[in-house]
């Protein structure tokens, strides 16, 4: 496993066209951002909890990749409870800090919402091969190849930067300047990495140009990216999640459209 290139296990979700996964994640995010209430977020999260295990992401990878969310969500919820807009019954007061029914609801809604939007996004990305995503963006969505493949090649460089960073640290040590305080060291090393990555980037661009990239000729795609019936079914299934969440919230009377 590496940060950038995940081990893609063969699973039902791994075979879905990345464009379908991306659309699903975007639709889910938009739908859940339309209202800030705890019912819609809880329903969405509950349904996701049933479906996410089917993605075939190993448990260790799941927890590693989503770790930040598990910290961020409670933190956001907690601060909202303390400082969020107050309404309803006053439950507690500590100086300027007030906790009310309203701020409690709001905190819960925000915490759940971060998880409900973040978890599927991360899991879907972690089960997507970047090359397949680029193929999908180029062929299914017909985005410009220059943009899509430039981004893909750049992504590979990120892996090299991690390697470069380690070598730079060794090199600074070898050159006798590795003893300075950590902040100065990181700043200097960061600058060296910047210089090096610009060099790498331009070398890679040269190599890509030499392979005919960026010419006026019409490009072909070696790997077909097909958006088929399975992908539509997946999309329908994932659209059902925010739909159910919204219906539940409206029925429960908690739906609060953000723009109204």
């Amino acid at each position: 496993m590496s940060l950038i290139v995940p081990d893609i296990r063969p699973s039902a979700v791994a075979r879905i066209n990345p464009v379908a996964k991306m659309l699903a994640a975007i639709l889910l995010a938009i739908a859940l951002l339309l209202s800030i209430d705890w019912v819609s977020a809880a329903v969405a999260l509950g349904l996701e909890a049933l479906l996410l295990p089917l993605a075939g992401l190993p448990a260790r990878q799941f927890w590693l990749r989503t770790a930040t969310l598990w910290v961020a969500a409670p933190l956001a919820a907690f601060t909202t409870v303390l400082y969020g807009e107050d309404s309803g019954a006053l439950l507690a007061r500590f100086g300027p800090i007030t906790i009310t029914d309203g701020s409690l609801d709001l905190g819960l809604a925000i915490g759940l919402r971060i998880l409900a939007i973040g978890l599927p996004g991360i899991v879907l990305f972690a089960t997507t091969d970047p090359t397949d995503l680029a193929d999908g963006l180029g062929q299914v969505l017909r985005l410009p190849a220059r943009f899509v493949l430039g981004g893909l090649a750049g992504l590979r460089l990120v892996g090299l930067f991690i390697e470069d960073w380690r070598f730079l640290a060794l090199a600074r040590r070898a050159r006798g300047v590795g003893d300075s305080n950590p902040i100065a060291r990181i700043a200097h090393q960061g600058f060296s990495l910047l210089v090096l990555s610009v060099r790498r980037g331009s070398k890679l661009a040269t190599a890509m140009e030499a392979k005919g990239f960026g010419s006026d000729r019409e490009r072909t795609w070696a790997r077909a990216s097909v958006f088929g019936a399975r992908d539509w079914r997946f999309l329908a299934l994932t659209v059902a999640i925010p739909a159910a969440a919204i219906v539940a919230a409206v029925l429960a009377g908690t739906w609060k459209f953000v723009l109204s």
């Binding site: 090359t131 050159r175 040269t206």
Partner: protein
């Protein structure tokens, strides 16, 4: 498409935007379709500039100024893209995609080759360069030599009419060199493409090329003709002798080898027993060993060569001996003459304490550059030792600039130097603080015969004066000239062993 491309140059020249002197100028040249040309010249004579111009990747007006004209079949190289396939020096920066098959297919895609045809060409190209790997093999796991063959496969699959190779075998072990050379020969035989190859080691390509062109650093050509004419070596005034004197590696004219002084045994400095070396991978806690069971003693005034195939762990061993990586197993001990009051584990020493004890020159010189001029780069080490700025930058730095032919570049930015110049500079930076143990990773890569000779002479002098030298190298001449012993690393498959 069984024809080669014709190259014509009329008064062509190029100056990099950041330099005052042109890299190439006054070039008049015609290369006929199907000719196979070996392009020679001193380090810094503009060989890479010319080959990149032919590939159409030299860049626009903001990168530099062109003079005269350079045409491929009557067209500007930029508009003839796809006709010319280029393999560059640096294996790392040529891989575009994450899987081997996709990477080979990339060039074909850009040229608009139909999908069925792409997947016919890809396995054929991989087979042609001897890269026997599954199509979905991750490119990040390839060795430098494999990456170079992958780059060649990508070019082979393009079916170019002009094949441009810029020191394609410089990073390979001897077996890899022959494989790539044969792959190129096979491709040329099948396609009839024109070939222009840069390579310092003339002998590798001599059987394949039918014309040798030597660039003159002062502009124009130094020599042009059949290999026999250009490289003939009868008589001291023959063309071959003149070329050799100009720094070209001419078969039959080995560079002068320094006479080594005979010395008594030195003081032991480093001792390794059952040492395992490795790197700590991302998200891992412990290093994964790439080579183990290494027993080794190094004394002052001794020169050791670490040899072995690509990926055997040679560089990792050097980094470990230099005190930069922690051993992955076994023990590495610095003996009192080297430790001089410090602990016995080099890895525990402070960065500044390493300077006068071990000096490591990395395989990629760019990793080590810290300053904005060549001179300042050489002053980094002495300054870190606490030498005052007045003392720094005088004798030692000037001497190194002179000895390594860098004096005319003292104010240039290290990143703008040619491949060979960068390597000399990185060697010089380590020498600036006079370490007791000097470790060099592929020190002679990219050097012409003259700078090779100078470098080896300088190293021999250091060893004779008591420096312990450890060199990771594929260069047989270098090993024969300067190594007292060789350590052959075979990775994990068998134990490291010392051959005398």
């Amino acid at each position: 498409m069984a024809a080669g491309a014709r190259i014509t140059a009329r008064g062509w020249g190029w100056r990099h935007a950041s330099r005052r002197a042109p890299a190439v100028h006054g070039l008049d040249l015609t290369i006929e379709p199907g000719e196979r040309v070996l392009l020679l010249g001193r380090s810094g004579a503009g060989k890479s500039t010319l080959i990149q111009a032919l590939a159409g990747v030299l860049g626009g007006d903001e990168e530099g100024d062109a003079t005269g004209e350079l045409l491929i079949d009557g067209h500007a190289p930029q508009s003839a893209r796809g006709d010319a396939g280029l393999v560059l020096q640096d294996p790392d920066s040529q891989v575009v995609l994450a899987r081997v098959g996709d990477d080979v297919a990339f060039a074909c895609e850009n040229l608009g080759v139909p999908r069925d045809e792409i997947w016919r060409r890809v396995p054929a190209a991989l087979a042609e360069v001897g890269l026997d790997l599954p199509l979905d093999h991750p490119t990040s796991q390839l060795s430098g030599g494999q990456k170079q063959r992958l780059a060649l496969a990508g070019v082979v699959a393009m079916r170019p009419r002009l094949l441009l190779l810029d020191e394609p075998t410089a990073n390979l072990d001897p077996a890899g060199i022959v494989e790539v050379r044969d792959a190129v020969a096979g491709t040329l035989h099948a396609s009839g493409a024109t070939l222009v190859v840069i390579e310092h080691r003339v002998s590798v390509w001599l059987d394949i090329v039918d014309r040798v062109i030597v660039l003159d650093p002062a502009g124009g050509l130094l020599a042009d003709g059949t290999p026999q004419q250009v490289l003939q070596h009868s008589g001291a005034n023959s063309a071959g002798a003149q070329l050799a004197a100009a720094g070209v590696w001419v078969p039959g004219f080995p560079p002068a080898r320094p006479v080594r002084r005979h010395r008594a045994a030195g003081v032991p400095l480093l001792a390794a027993s059952d040492l395992a070396v490795g790197r700590t991978e991302f998200a891992r806690r412990r290093p994964t060993a790439v080579s183990s069971g290494i027993d080794l003693e190094l004394a002052s005034g001794e020169s050791l060569a670490i040899v072995g195939e690509n990926g055997a762990g040679k560089s990792t061993l050097a980094l470990t001996l230099a005190g930069l990586l922690a051993p992955a197993g076994g023990s590495l001990e610095a003996l009192p003459a080297l430790a001089r009051g410090l602990g016995s584990q080099p890895f525990r020493w402070r960065s500044r304490q390493l300077l006068t004890r071990t000096g490591m020159v990395f395989q990629d010189p760019e990793h080590q550059f810290l300053a904005s001029t060549v001179r300042a780069e050489l002053e980094v080490g002495p300054r870190a030792l606490g030498d005052s700025p007045d003392r720094v930058g005088t004798e030692r730095v000037d001497e190194l600039l002179e000895r390594l032919h860098l004096a005319h570049l003292a104010n240039a930015n290290p990143f703008t130097l040619s491949g060979g110049e960068k390597r000399r500079l990185s060697v010089a930076t380590a020498l600036a603080t006079r370490p007791q143990v000097l470790l060099l990773d592929e020190p002679t890569f990219g050097q012409d015969a003259l700078t090779w000779q100078e470098l080896v002479a300088l190293l021999a002098e250091l060893v004779d004066d008591g420096t312990a030298l450890v060199s990771v190298t594929h260069d047989r001449d270098y090993v024969e000239t300067i190594a007292d012993r060789s350590l052959l690393l075979n990775g994990l498959s068998s134990e490291g062993r010392v051959t005398v």
